[in-house]
């Protein structure tokens, strides 16, 4: 128990930034159960991170300014001539040509956006806004539904899995979590930030529900360990495996959620 007292300031930072290894995370978590002051400090730092993210992230979705678009399409069409040296009418024509090229490229990218290696105008999908947050929202909305928690019930599991696989363009499986006393109730197709996502819902006999959220993404890091994030009262364990991002969400403690995530990981990968 004494090792708890050795929690360093650097470890607190690393914990808050998800840069600490999982074992040490778990130790810190049991420590803060009995040390409310430390718990409050960590909570404040996590809230701070979240607020900074909220404050600046809308910029990710803003349309690019014309000048920037032009720089990109100039690169694409090898139009590297300095526009300013040309006569106004020429400049205008080049601008029109460049924006047409931009439109065309946009169209092509839009058309092929399900193909995995198109990264021309797509941004890199980050874990928080493209996986953790939509997964938590979807969990919060549907897991509390008494009459319509799922779109297709587990009775039609085969149909459900086939349908989701088709829509997500990849083989999706609903992992069997009965060893951990969770039974599949069903699932649904969801819109995610910029793609589609699948959600499976499981229930334990004490009515606790967890959801597994699966989506494809252009992640900046295509192989990650299990990461843990707390969104309000909801815990999220997530990981990236190739193009696919997985998030297991529930009002469970981290250890239970980690056990379940390992189950999911083993069955899916």
């Amino acid at each position: 128990m004494n090792k708890f007292t050795e929690i360093t300031d650097a470890e607190i930072q690393a914990y808050v930034d998800n840069q600490l290894d999982l074992d040490r995370c778990l130790e810190i978590e049991s420590y803060i159960q009995t040390h409310p002051e430390m718990a409050e400090l960590i909570k404040d730092y996590q809230d701070l991170n979240h607020s900074i993210y909220q404050l600046y992230s809308p910029a990710l979705d803003e349309e690019l300014p014309e000048q920037t678009k032009q720089t990109i399409s100039n690169k694409k069409t090898h139009l590297n001539t300095r526009l300013s040296r040309r006569r106004p009418i020429q400049r205008k024509l080049i601008k029109v040509a460049a924006s047409l090229a931009w439109l065309a490229i946009g169209g092509i990218v839009g058309w092929h956006s399900h193909s995995s290696n198109t990264i021309l105008t797509q941004s890199i999908d980050d874990h928080t806004s493209h996986l953790v947050q939509p997964a938590s929202f979807a969990h919060a909305i549907y897991s509390t539904e008494s009459r319509h928690p799922v779109e297709v019930s587990a009775k039609e599991e085969q149909h459900l899995v086939g349908w989701l696989s088709k829509r997500l363009h990849t083989d999706i499986k609903a992992p069997d979590l009965s060893k951990n006393n969770f039974e599949l109730i069903g699932g649904r197709l969801l819109p995610s930030t910029n793609r589609m996502a699948a959600q499976f819902m499981y229930e334990r006999n004490d009515s606790i529900r967890i959801t597994l959220y699966i989506r494809r993404g252009a992640w900046d890091n295509n192989k990650t360990a299990f990461h843990y994030s707390k969104q309000g009262s909801i815990s999220v364990l997530y990981w990236i495996d190739g193009e696919m991002g997985y998030a297991l969400v529930g009002d469970l403690n981290k250890t239970d959620l980690l056990d379940l995530s390992k189950q999911v990981f083993q069955q899916i990968s």
């Binding site: 930034d17 701070l48 720089t71 021309l120 797509q122 980050d126």
Partner: protein
């Protein structure tokens, strides 16, 4: 377009977000910063060494461009201080505007290096070692400055300790 150029282009939205935060919400300055950094990165993409971190390289370029930008403004003949108002679109409606704009102001008042460290870690999720490499400082300094910045922001935004700023939810 080469592969590396495509990667650079894919990073534009993140460069824009970082620039907004770095320039303390001056939209036009942020736009220029992204544009100049982008042009420089594309021009020099052949200088990027494969196997090193692209993000670190891009942020280093942006930091240099920003330093020039600030120098130019400070030396300019008719510099008028722009109001550091927060861009409306920066504010998410789910959290009260007042709280986020307080935070924005507090971050804008941080010394430049502390601001960079905080933003690279929280917005970009850069590992501490990469932050250290990008800024050319030891990783221990990154951690201690990060800790001090957080303590400072916490004190400013904590309900009990401040008459001006409210607790960040």
């Amino acid at each position: 377009m080469t592969e590396i150029e495509q990667h650079i282009v894919a990073y534009i939205p993140r460069l824009r977000r970082y620039a907004q935060a770095l320039t303390k919400g001056h939209s036009s300055m942020a736009e220029d910063l992204v544009q100049d950094s982008l042009e420089r990165a594309l021009d020099r993409s052949h200088q990027f060494r494969q196997g090193t971190d692209l993000r670190a390289w891009l942020f280093t370029i942006m930091h240099n461009v920003y330093a020039n930008q600030v120098r130019r403004i400070n030396n300019g003949p008719d510099f008028v201080e722009l109001p550091e108002t927060i861009n409306e679109s920066l504010v998410d409606t789910s959290t009260s505007k007042l709280e986020l704009s307080d935070l924005h102001r507090a971050i804008s008042e941080l010394p430049l290096e502390q601001r960079k460290i905080l933003l690279l870690v929280t917005l970009e999720g850069l590992p501490y070692q990469q932050v250290a490499d990008t800024l050319g400082i030891p990783v221990g300094t990154v951690m201690s400055k990060l800790s001090r910045t957080r303590q400072h922001l916490r004190k400013l935004t904590h309900r009990d300790n401040s008459p001006h700023l409210r607790r960040i939810k």
